[in-house]
């Protein structure tokens, strides 16, 4: 065991620029995850502090609902945050797969391989957590520019304190290690299986049923509640969590169906390849666009809030509340979009590295580089539009019992939704394009012999 652990740093350096790059990407993803989680938790703490020690009549009257709304934002961002963290862990593991499989063939035991991976992934998680804390510190003054409740949330209010940082320093490496170990199972189970690509398991229609039941439950509860009392909001938040889980469950299945449709209709090489890639691994595609799918869902939910509150009248306090809700919606969306874009960039970069040999050989055989760019764009853009717009529509339909006709009479929220979807799509596309130089570098390489 000790000898194998001693190998860890050598394995890392032996990987060359590839491994350095993927390690860098994984650390970046952990850092973004940590910084945004700390920011979101900091905001929640800020609102809780104001509710506990109100300094104005408005805060006395309304601070409590703000805490609940902040909780909703936390729940909404939890899934994309965890997804990105998981993607970061997998990224590190995927690049080591081949060499770990070699170690297995050389007789290293499964337990030693797991320990080796857990140690390395946890180290990346720790590096990311530390970088994320620094990023959080940089972001604090930025967040404090945003007005809430008629004044700005101060840096002091959003500071999670030493205990918060300590929790992040322990939790991020721990979750990274667990996630890495889980995704390592295939190497451990079968060292020869890594290079082989089997037809992926079909995703059952049961997922769709679960989703429909989850959405229906939400609608029934929100109608039966009849008001916006704190208890009902609590249930709504729980249901929102369930809705998220179901969206995550049904997403890959829907993407698989969509890929079949694309495949059937494909007439050009780029469309054919994009459809085949999507069909090959809809889960991977979902991990890329799931962030924006969830962001679309967030936008759908929050887009109705201004319209809802305007029904109550238009006193100065109500206007302040609506402004704050819109601000909160924008912030949540911006964070979700940033997470989605980082996810897309990380996934595309690792896909380029994983496919470097086939990319290079296809290029040598005369396949133009532009085809690869088009395939990459299509394989992200198709699901992005389907999932982003689709999940936003699901959210609006889900909330329609609460919304009524206010969506038509007060379209501001829905316009905001449209704007954020366009912005999000462009941001994710930009992240995909940012990996262009990496692909160019891979294509320029003629060193395609396996040794």
């Amino acid at each position: 065991m000790r000898a194998v652990l001693a190998l860890a740093p050598r394995l890392r350096t032996a990987g060359g620029s590839d491994t350095r790059l993927t390690t860098g990407l994984a650390v970046l993803a952990f850092a973004v995850t940590t910084a945004l989680t700390l920011s979101v938790v900091g905001g929640l703490r800020g609102f809780m502090a104001r509710a506990a020690n109100p300094t104005s009549q408005y805060e006395v009257d309304y601070a409590e609902p703000y805490v609940w709304l902040a909780w909703i934002a936390v729940v909404l961002l939890l899934v994309p945050l965890v997804t990105l963290g998981g993607a970061a862990a997998r990224l590190g593991v995927a690049r080591r797969d081949a060499r770990l499989a070699t170690l297995r063939l050389l007789g290293v035991t499964p337990r030693e391989v797991v320990v080796l991976t857990v140690v390395e992934t946890a180290a990346q998680g720790l590096a990311g957590a530390v970088a994320g804390m620094v990023l959080y510190g940089v972001l604090l003054p930025v967040w404090s520019l945003v007005p809430f409740m008629g004044s700005h949330l101060t840096v002091g209010e959003m500071w999670v304190g030493a205990p918060g940082l300590l929790v992040a320093a322990v939790a991020v490496p721990l979750l990274a290690a667990v996630s890495g170990a889980v995704s390592l199972r295939r190497v451990v189970v079968s060292p020869l299986g890594v290079a082989r690509r089997q037809t992926p398991r079909r995703l059952g229609w049961v997922r769709l049923l679960v989703a429909v039941v989850g959405v229906g439950l939400f609608m029934v509860v929100s109608v039966a509640g009849g008001g916006l009392g704190a208890a009902v909001i609590g249930v709504l938040i729980a249901c929102l969590g369930i809705a998220f889980a179901t969206l995550n469950a049904v997403g890959p299945w829907v993407l698989g169906l969509y890929a079949r449709l694309l495949l059937w209709r494909a007439r050009t090489p780029a469309r054919l390849l994009a459809a085949r890639r999507l069909l090959d691994d809809p889960r991977a595609a979902w991990r890329v666009v799931g962030g924006l799918g969830l962001a679309g869902f967030v936008a759908g939910c929050l887009a109705v809030l201004p319209a809802l509150t305007m029904e109550a009248g238009s006193s100065a306090e109500d206007r302040l509340m609506v402004d704050d809700l819109t601000t909160g919606a924008m912030l949540t969306l911006v964070i979700a979009f940033v997470l989605a874009a980082v996810s897309a960039g990380v996934a595309q970069a690792s896909a380029v590295l994983d496919r470097r040999r086939e990319y290079a050989l296809q290029h040598l055989a005369g396949v133009p580089a532009e085809l690869f760019h088009e395939v990459r764009r299509r394989e992200v853009l198709g699901p992005l539009l389907l999932v982003g717009v689709g999940s936003a529509a699901v959210a609006v339909v889900m909330l329609s019992p609460l919304l009524g006709f206010a969506g038509v009479t007060n379209p501001r929220g829905l316009l905001l939704l449209g704007g954020c979807l366009v912005g999000g799509v462009l941001l994710v596309l930009a992240a995909v394009e940012s990996t262009r130089p990496l692909l160019r570098q891979v294509l320029a390489s003629r060193d395609v012999r396996p040794d």
């Binding site: 290079a195 082989r196 690509r197 089997q198 037809t199 494909a266 007439r267 050009t268 090489p269 054919l272 390849l273 085949r276 890639r277 069909l279 090959d280 040999r357 086939e358 050989l361 296809q362 290029h363 040598l364 055989a365 005369g366 396949v367 133009p368 085809l371 003629r446 395609v448 012999r449 396996p450």
Partner: protein, 262 residues
């Protein structure tokens, strides 16, 4: 538009006569930094002929293949294909040349893992403008011809090494290339499977009227070709031409020893 190749011609049929020369290189020089990989190589290959390029590691044989195939631009000298200078085309034109006039068989890993065999073969034809339905039909015919009937929908991960290389041969030939370049095409295979792939590669390439350039360090692989050159330190040091093609003898050996396709 460039037509797609048809697998209809029988193996061993006479190569079609072409009006001008096949592949020709004159005075090829290529350096990597201060290292001279090619120090002035001349080479002629008629349409339908096969040539093995042999030599130890670092001899320059891969650089030679890359210069002939329009992957590298030589520092000096010329490469002509059917009388047309191709070495100094720009990047886009060389890419087009490789796609339309050349076919490639690499050691492994050139098939896209998410595409079934038939689509891997159809892809180059589609890139050259053939509609998907027609390209797929041609691809099917090629797979059947190369003994892969029933494997059309399998993905590369579900094929054996020999089967995957035969798919790669079909992929290289579907566009009706003038020259097929094979870089250690049997390097990842056992000897019997490798011989099988070489038989199919040489027979089908010849039948399609294409020239074949095989880079290998394996004398057994080189023996399948009609001509053989030895490369040392960037120079051609030996050139052997068979009087009559005796691949048939090797074929007899193979069928006696190992029987059918694997």
């Amino acid at each position: 538009m460039h037509t797609t190749g048809t697998p209809g011609a029988a193996p061993g049929a006479a190569a079609p006569t072409r009006t001008s020369d096949g592949l020709r290189a004159r005075g090829l020089v290529h350096r990597f930094g201060s290292t001279t990989a090619l120090a002035g190589v001349d080479l002629d290959l008629a349409p339908g002929r096969s040539l093995a390029v042999m030599g130890p590691s670092g001899s320059g044989k891969s650089t030679l293949l890359h210069c002939l195939a329009g992957i590298l631009v030589p520092d000096d000298g010329s490469v002509t294909l059917r009388g047309r200078e191709v070495a100094r085309l720009d990047e886009r034109e060389r890419s087009l040349l490789r796609r339309r006039h050349y076919g490639f068989v690499f050691q492994f890993g050139q098939l896209l893992p998410e595409l079934p065999a038939v689509e891997n073969v159809a892809l180059p034809a589609m890139l050259n403008g053939a509609p998907r339905a027609r390209a797929t039909e041609h691809a099917r015919q090629w797979l059947v011809r190369l003994g892969l009937a029933g494997m059309e929908e399998r993905r590369p991960g579900e094929l054996s090494g020999g089967q995957a290389q035969r798919v790669a041969v079909a992929r290289a030939l579907i566009t009706g290339p003038d020259v097929v370049f094979a870089d250690e095409p049997t390097g990842a295979l056992d000897q019997a499977t490798g011989a099988n792939v070489m038989r199919i590669l040489t027979e089908t390439t010849r039948a399609a009227g294409a020239s074949l350039v095989v880079v290998t360090h394996d004398k057994g692989v080189a023996d399948w070709c009609e001509e053989r050159i030895e490369v040392r330190d960037g120079l051609v040091v030996g050139h052997h031409v068979r009087e009559s093609w005796d691949g048939a003898a090797a074929r007899a050996d193979l069928s006696a020893g190992h029987g059918g396709l694997r």
